[in-house]
Symmetry: C3
Subunit: 131 residues, 3 copies
């Protein structure tokens, strides 16, 4: 398992980590299998979406905050109940297929770390399964 | 990795691809492991849900469109910001367990390709990991 | 594959099953790999979130029910259309990494079975892939 460390700079922020994951796959020398990208935090998530136009990530952030606004009305008293809920909606891990040593993403796909309660220092776990 | 090709006929449409996945599992002759079903598109998703009553898929489509409507109010200018957001909510891949050469779905479960910006020709990647 | 059986006592209820999953991992004697935790039901889900303050799970339940209320307005006639939709939003499976024989969860993370149409007797499938 490899650990990637990232720093986020806003409360809500999607950060493209595709190049980090690609590097871990390259350095593993694994030809075929899957890579599991996992976030060990309960107020963050991980998703795959378009990384060509940064407006897409912004629209995702804005829509999640419209559906699950920060603020009052929650039982959890730490002021980040919305962040936990966003984490469950987006999910804590993704899988991507590895073939011929390459991460097999679609043309427009990138892998995003989703910060929902930043700014913070965060970790992402990367595990490759050969097969 | 196997590639399944499908054609969608509406803007938003859930298509049952269970039989395709079952066939890939059979043809692999793998007895035990997992199958990863992955969508390489940023305006589509993949989910597991009931495939007995087609109303269930319709209710999912309608509710996602109520929560994340198509149209104005997004930054992404291609008219499909809602499709990208739906993709992140639903997710880009699923795992199903394989045991004794069979896909182990629950009684009412089917695997659905979720089109959020059709009609289009689409691909689904299927990767089996033995273990 | 191991099967965990649980009983739920409310219509909507998140149940912490972390200790069950930890036990399956221990008993497998697998040192490194991933564990796939899979729900074979179409009106339930599985998620990872904070298990220290029970208010977090309550906030997730309440917010999902605000976004996707039970009741009328759905095509599926069994009175649990909302449960199916919640299942697709939350997801039917999760992956967690195993290292040195331990489940590698973040400090605040627990694994929750999400009942969306209880009370019922339910199953969770647990599959370990070495690697």
């Amino acid at each position: 398992m490899k650990v990637i460390e990232i720093s986020t700079s806003k409360r809500i922020e999607m950060i493209d980590i595709t190049s980090h994951i690609r590097r871990v796959v390259k350095e593993s020398n694994v030809r075929d299998g899957i890579v599991v990208v996992y976030v060990p935090h309960t107020t963050a998530g991980i998703t795959i979406n378009e990384n060509a136009d940064p407006s897409v990530a912004k629209d995702i952030e804005n829509t999640l905050s419209r559906l699950v606004p920060a603020g009052k009305g929650y039982l959890h008293m730490e002021g980040n109940a919305d962040s936990h809920i966003k984490s469950t909606i987006v999910g804590s891990s993704i899988n991507v297929i590895i073939e011929n040593g390459e991460l097999i993403l679609g043309t427009w796909q990138g892998i995003f770390f989703c910060e929902f309660d930043g700014p913070r220092r965060r970790k992402v776990y990367v595990k490759i399964i050969e097969g």
